[in-house]
């Protein structure tokens, strides 16, 4: 823990220094911005043509015509450009340093993703460059009940502590089906782990909530007795595994459950109904279209891929019409990435739902903005262009549902964290720096006489749930 703390402090210091450098020693106060004469896709109240947008004090201060630029404000000519709220990715593993799976047991509600945020992960920047400004960082899908999630904004250049969204309801990852039962991970020498069937997954979750209910009762009894004035009582032993489950039972923690098949979706609804909690979102939920009515009746949200399918058996009945069916059943639905790569083009993933299933533009826009904000409980702050909300906005070169569009600028809390022209302008300098580094002896190829380099650290690719196989293989080799 001490080591972690030291590391965190070092990170924070390094990041603060880097940020100061980027800002050229300017005051850390966020510069105001006026975007003029753009097409504004508000998501909450339609499309506004030839409209100005004022970002002030980190908030959307005004939306309207002929707005005046405050002194010192940055002014952007939005003529021909489109403004969309920052995209929110309701299933991400970006900036999670090291493995996203604590895989040694099937209930790991005692671990949290908050401990492994890497604010310097370059994919954050790449996602900002694709218009994504916020994400739900989820534990991996190795466990029936996984670790705690973290809702973040991509505050590139800031220390890790600035990333979690203040006031965002806490969450937890559940997982059903092939991943928690370890179906695709038959690696010689690897110990099998319970559960190995969907029956066992059900039993594992039921067992955990049964223990949590008893534990909660112990505490409730203890607190009742204390408040009656009874003295010298011994409090129940704290259980870090069960504490988050009690929060779920009390409606204080959101359950985001990875799932694929219709039967396992119904299974979790059944457990949730029995223990008296709600599933906040079914994640992936690729067969959600088969049981959309039941999901709607339970009151859960759904966060799915538009058309990613067929990569494993439980994804074989996935269809690109899933999101449309879920939306038509009145379910709050989002389209997520689960991939550092796809997170850069969620606009196109949303646009495809107009082709597959015929959603309206407004319905499709909500899939990656307002709906995920609702699912994460941050819709009062972000997810649409409304006065008073956080200034999380993206200026696009064309309509973001056009395949030919790209983001020009991305603002998070009013701060310009991606600017395409500035990025392009910086490239010659980076190229020169790279050349200088490559010429250094330590970096010259051994064949050209350089000293052989030290063993480089392993670099993670973009993570998807299906990387579990590789994780395990690599762990075995270590």
């Amino acid at each position: 823990m001490k080591r972690l703390l030291t590391l965190a402090i070092m990170f924070a210091a390094a990041c603060a220094a880097a940020t100061a450098q980027q800002r050229g020693g300017q005051s850390p106060a966020v510069q105001d911005t006026l975007i003029r004469n753009a097409t504004v896709l508000t998501v909450s109240h339609g499309t506004l043509e030839r409209t100005d947008l004022l970002l002030r004090g980190g908030k959307i201060a005004a939306v309207g015509q002929n707005l005046k630029a405050p002194d010192g404000a940055r002014v952007i000519d939005g003529t021909g450009k489109y403004v969309l709220p920052g995209i929110i990715d309701a299933h991400s593993h970006s900036m999670m340093d090291g493995s996203v799976n604590e895989c040694t047991r099937s209930v790991t509600s005692m671990v949290t993703t908050r401990d492994i945020l890497n604010p310097t992960a370059v994919n954050i920047y790449r996602e900002l460059a694709g218009g994504t400004t916020a994400a739900l960082l989820l534990h991996g899908s190795c466990n029936s009940i996984g670790g705690l999630s973290t809702t973040v904004k991509f505050k590139w250049g800031h220390p890790a502590a600035d990333f979690p969204v203040l006031g965002a309801p806490p969450g937890i990852k559940f997982a059903l089906g092939e991943n928690p039962k370890r179906s695709n991970f038959n690696i010689p020498g690897l110990q099998p782990r319970y559960p190995a069937t969907r029956m066992g997954v059900e039993e594992t979750i039921r067992d955990a909530f049964t223990r949590a209910r008893d534990y909660k009762k112990d505490w409730d009894d203890y607190r009742a007795a204390t408040s009656r004035g009874e003295k010298n009582l011994i409090p129940p032993r704290r259980d870090l595994e069960l504490d988050p489950l009690v929060e779920i039972l009390e409606g204080k923690r959101y359950v985001h459950s990875h799932c694929y098949r219709a039967d396992e979706i119904l299974m979790l609804i059944n457990i949730a109904d029995e223990f008296g909690f709600k599933v906040r979102t079914f994640q992936h939920v690729l067969e959600g279209y088969k049981v959309a009515a039941e999901i709607a009746r339970h009151g859960a949200g759904a966060s799915t891929f538009t058309d990613f399918w067929g990569y494993k058996m439980e994804a074989y009945d996935a269809i690109a019409y899933n999101a449309a069916v879920l939306v038509r059943h009145g379910i709050v639905t989002s389209v997520n990435s689960d991939s550092d790569e796809r997170a850069r083009r969620l606009n196109i993933e949303a646009a495809k739902t107009m082709r597959y299933g015929g959603l309206t533009e407004e319905e499709a826009l909500k899939l990656v903005t307002l709906n995920p904000a609702i699912q994460l409980g941050i819709d009062k702050r972000t997810g649409s262009i409304d006065v008073g909300k956080d200034a999380d906005v993206v200026v696009w070169s064309a309509h973001p549902f056009s395949v030919y569009a790209h983001p020009e600028q991305t603002f998070v809390d009013g701060e310009l964290l991606f600017d395409r022209q500035a990025d392009i302008a910086r490239r010659p300098q980076l190229e020169a720096e790279r050349k200088a580094l490559e010429a250094a002896d330590a970096n010259r190829a051994p064949a050209s006489g350089g000293t052989p380099p030290r063993t480089p650290p392993s670099v993670r690719r973009a993570y998807t749930d299906d990387d579990d196989v590789q994780d395990v293989q690599e762990d075995n080799q270590r």
Partner: protein
Amino acid sequence: MKTLRLSSLTRALVAFVVCALPLSARAQDTDRADSSMTNTPPPTYVIRGAHVVTVSGADIDNATVVISGGRISAVGTNVNAPAGAQVIDASGLWVYPGMIDVGTNMGLAEVPSVGATMDTQELGDMNPNVAAVWAINPSSSHIAVTRVEGVTSVLSMPSGGTISGQAAFINLAGSSPREMAVVPDAALVVNFPALGGGGGFAAFQLAQQGITQDALTTRDRRVDELRRMFRDAEAYGRAQDAYAKDPKSVPRPSTDLKLAALVPYARGERPVVFRAERERDIRGVVRFAEDLKLKPVIIGGSEAGKAAQFLKEHNVPVILDSVLNLPLREDDAYDSLFENASKLQAAGVRFCISTGDSGAHVRDLPFNAGMAAAYGLPKTEALKSVTLYPAQILGVADRVGSVEQGKLANLVVTDGDILEPRTHIRHLFINGRQIPLTSRHTMLYDQFKDRQ
């Protein structure tokens, strides 16, 4: 082992003969309800009033396209409709050539996590005599899912070892691989020996070791082995020719199926598709192929933009299947792979765009090309990069890739720009036959969409 090889030779010969037969001479299979699975004589269609994007020439507004005998028999504004043709009113709609993805494993892969459904990678390192056309599953659910989004032809490639085998250029309709095949042995696929890359355990090991002298030596040795294989094939071809010319005095060379399969590629008669991502490997492929007088095509090409001038000088085309990949290096520009295509185009390098997907996501081909266009590639070039250019690079542009008289009628009728995600596909023709816009996905959708 020996019998196996002999039987594949027999099959290869049969296939060669069958595939060389003209369309009309094909054996008549039993008809099925699905018109994509029949080979009765294709009907005559007239598509009227459409905006035709020919790709090879200028767009033609309010045009008529006539399809007969499986081919495009007329295109233009002043075209007479033959009697008895089925008429499709396409006013307000657009006609495009079917899109082409020349970097897939279509029909060789179904569910990647289920080994029994995978036929992409044969064991062994040098398998020139392994051919995709024998293993493509015409009933793979990927095929209909892909074509209903406007992709009508693909190159289906094996992918294992160093020489992976021979790829087939297929249309995405037909009840057997040979019916689907436009060219059954369209290209040889080679994973050019590289330092790192390729993923999996080997890449992990390399990352642990760093690029050591050992790794360099191993790479060079593997390149030498590959070179020797091509040289042996070339010599084998000459020996066979000499024997054929003068069987009385020249001793009969013993048959070697691997070398026999390699001969046309070693002679530069057919394309060799080399996988290479890094600049050094791309340059390595070009020198290697030039030395051996092969007909090289690069697939991958993540750093092709850095070698654009070199590729132009040596006239080597590139299949970019990495547009949507994350940049190779942490410090690469965030859009380095998005803009790779525009760099090649600006330098005059022949290129095309592919999904590089095993099958399930080949339908995303237009969005790969579109992303390149969002980052500098002209829109018309983006369209060519998934129609005419892949056809040219694979040497099949006389049959597919544009809306021109005489070409196979692989046509897509849309309500807008074919690269845009909001566009809908309205009609589809492959080999001159109208294909229903149904797939496993539309059937599941219809089955469940109204369930309460």
